[in-house]
Symmetry: C2
Subunit: 436 residues, 2 copies
């Protein structure tokens, strides 16, 4: 490999691929002046070689054959932007087997088989760079792994999926239902035709698994994450939460207490006065509390052509500098040093909760429900009964609890669900208090 120049092959010429090409064409000169390394795009592979992506690729660079790109002597580093866990896995593995470093934005791949891929990289004396896999353009992987290296990470809360945050923000602003907003988001290009990966929380969960693996010294996969998406978040609850001073966000929650790791993705209430509560639309943010530094937060665009490209190209510079200075594998990506960690049980996961019940407007119902919570050891912080619902002869009752375990709450909800005066199943979301 040339010490001054690094030759780049990009597999996948979709949205992000085009953004990477555009960024290289626009700012390679600036980066060379800043760092002394020159990034040269030599190959782009995509099955579709005809669609106009709005960037002027020099002739002879674009072709359909990804394996030829990987094997090309003119490619020093392979950028994988195909996505998914099948063909992308093959491309990444084949590049690593040839000792070529890989830059990827593929969170699903890393959460699915990261351990295997990083092992393969190690065996072949090369590296995987993945800043763009979490938080899009936000340099949060670097912040966690290097900037906060002196810290035990006590907790992380992340708004890590732009589609979900866009939908929840529009629901609140326009007082519109989930399905209407989803449809509009699909039309505007902010949600996929099949939105499941985003709205059912799996994309966020992949990112949560990567973040937990990164800071806790043990591999976590998608299977380790308790996932709940935003399909069941109603406008009703968004509005009640707002009246109580909260917003509902799809939150990745990653917390460690001794050997116990809580790893979940779920809609949760965060205060409107908190910074996370003010992260709106397609923006992402990661809030991190370290034992030394205290609370920190990293904010920016979590997806999209240019923002993701910013992170991919930063990885290319990092990689080029490592190669120029002969210090490959300078920063251990996922050091494994805490094999005894385990996932927290529902008994061990504690938070405050928001509960909404639709109950018949009869004497004694509140007392009975309060009694159920008390019976499960859950203290009620506040309760409010709202105006009667004209159509249902029922009144909404809102409760905010003090901290309780998930298992106690599950028990209480199960019991309440069977109450004869309960008109609908109770709705429950965690309330996360982000202390500074």
């Amino acid at each position: 490999m040339d010490m001054e120049k690094i030759r780049i092959g990009v597999i996948g010429f979709g949205t992000v691929g085009a953004g990477v090409v555009e960024t290289l064409l626009k700012n390679s000169g600036l980066m060379a002046r800043r760092t002394g390394v020159e990034l040269v795009l030599t190959k782009v592979a995509d099955l579709d070689t005809t669609t106009d992506r709005g960037v002027a690729l020099p002739p002879g660079i674009l072709g359909p054959d990804a394996m030829a790109l990987i094997e090309s002597p003119e490619v020093d580093v392979v950028v994988e932007l195909v996505g998914g866990t099948t063909i992308a896995r093959k491309f990444v593995s084949e590049a690593l087997r040839r000792g070529k470093p890989v830059v990827t934005a593929n969170k699903a791949l890393l959460a699915f088989c990261g351990e295997e891929l990083f092992q393969l990289a190690r065996e072949n004396g090369t590296e995987i760079y993945f800043e763009a896999s979490v938080g899009g353009g936000i340099p949060c992987i670097k912040a966690l792994r290097e900037g906060l290296v002196a810290n035990n990470v006590e907790a992380m809360y992340g708004i890590l999926n732009g589609t979900c945050n866009y939908i929840l923000t529009r629901m609140e602003n326009e007082k519109a239902d989930f399905s209407l907003v989803l449809e509009a988001a699909q039309k505007a290009g902010y949600a996929e035709a099949n939105p499941s990966t985003d709205v059912d929380g799996y994309d966020t969960a992949n990112k949560a698994a990567i973040l937990a693996s990164l800071v806790y010294g043990k591999w976590f996969t998608l299977d380790d994450v308790a996932v709940q998406g935003i399909r069941d978040v109603t406008l009703t609850d968004i509005e009640y939460a707002s009246q109580l001073g909260y917003r509902i966000k799809l939150l990745a929650t990653i917390r460690k207490n001794g050997e116990k790791v809580q790893l979940c993705v779920r809609p949760a209430l965060v205060s409107k006065d908190s910074l996370l509560g003010n992260v709106s639309s397609v923006f992402n943010a990661l809030w991190v509390k370290g034992d030394i530094v205290g609370a920190t937060m990293y904010y920016g665009r979590g997806a999209g052509r240019a923002a993701t490209a910013s992170a991919v190209v930063a990885d290319l510079v990092d990689l080029a500098l490592n190669h120029r200075h002969g210090c490959q594998r300078r920063v251990e990506p996922f050091p494994v040093y805490a094999p005894s960690l385990r996932l927290a049980t529902k008994d061990e996961i504690r938070s405050r909760f928001y509960v909404r019940c639709q109950v018949r407007n009869k004497a004694g119902v509140l007392a009975r429900i309060a009694g159920v919570f008390a019976g499960h050891g859950i203290s009620i912080a506040s309760v409010s009964q709202r105006e009667k619902d004209a159509q249902q002869d029922a009144v909404p009752m809102l409760l905010l609890t003090e901290k309780a375990s998930q298992s106690s709450m599950d028990g209480a909800l199960n019991e309440i669900r069977q109450d004869g005066d309960m008109v609908q199943p109770p709705v429950c979301f965690a309330v996360e208090e982000l202390e500074n």
Copy 2:
């Protein structure tokens, strides 16, 4: 230098020094497991060797002689935590001359003679690390230099002084005057006995000079920064700003437009709905807009024992990894590549403005003042006249302007100041609109 172990000498055993020692004692094991490098504290130098700092230093480490520490064969890296620009300059220079890398949190030193010191480091084949010099525990230097390396930085806005932000937050929350809150802050240890460096804006200006030098490829010093502190921010203006939907923050503003760089520190209005507007108390934040990534933000504690230590120790790990892998000077700290940049003139600096006038309650005054602004080419976005001030037979008049140049505004203010119906000199602050 041992490849696995790095031996650390700390000069200055004050607040941050004690925090660094504490962090090393607490988390060295974790860092070694994460990175493979061992940080070993071998010497601490401070003239005061008797005061209890609340950390258990092993015997034989603390002594009064900084030069002996610098010369000691048991010290591989010198951490300078003395502060100031005189004795600290000597210690840093002496360490660099001996080829020893330096880690510093000293923003004043870097803004004063950074160019000279980085040149000295280069000549002696060594490095200066300075993450802690801006934003305390927030890894913003790393984010700018590495994470956003692919970007032209179009603008940065920073809340970079915890003391000022603490004072402004308390003034708003407690409806208290500057002098009262300053006194309380001094008692609580959040402000120095001589608060000038903080409240007159020089600390923020030092940081602004460092940030501008870092991203724009040319050295800027404190002298290049137009500085205005918070002594003239009154409760009255905080309350009026609040009614208009804004908060007043001491903002570092760093913007580039072509070859023109705006570099200033001044109280400015930011929207309550913006993230920066929600950064309160001692917290700091840096908002950065890159041409590729768009808006990003970095948030955390900007000062204090532990937070600053988090950044100093992260630098020590970075340095140790560079030495272990033989890649000193892997990332060029302040590459100079844009000598043709120049400071923007007052004609070229544009923003919206908030203006408050106390005028006699007479017919025609508003028309006359509006005429003055119009005469200077300044459009008024909104105007509101408030209740009459009982004591002064005067009414406050609030104006928000559209974007105008600083020179136009200065001209208009000069003219208004001479108006016979102006009871007090007009008050004027910039209004910064942080687009996403």
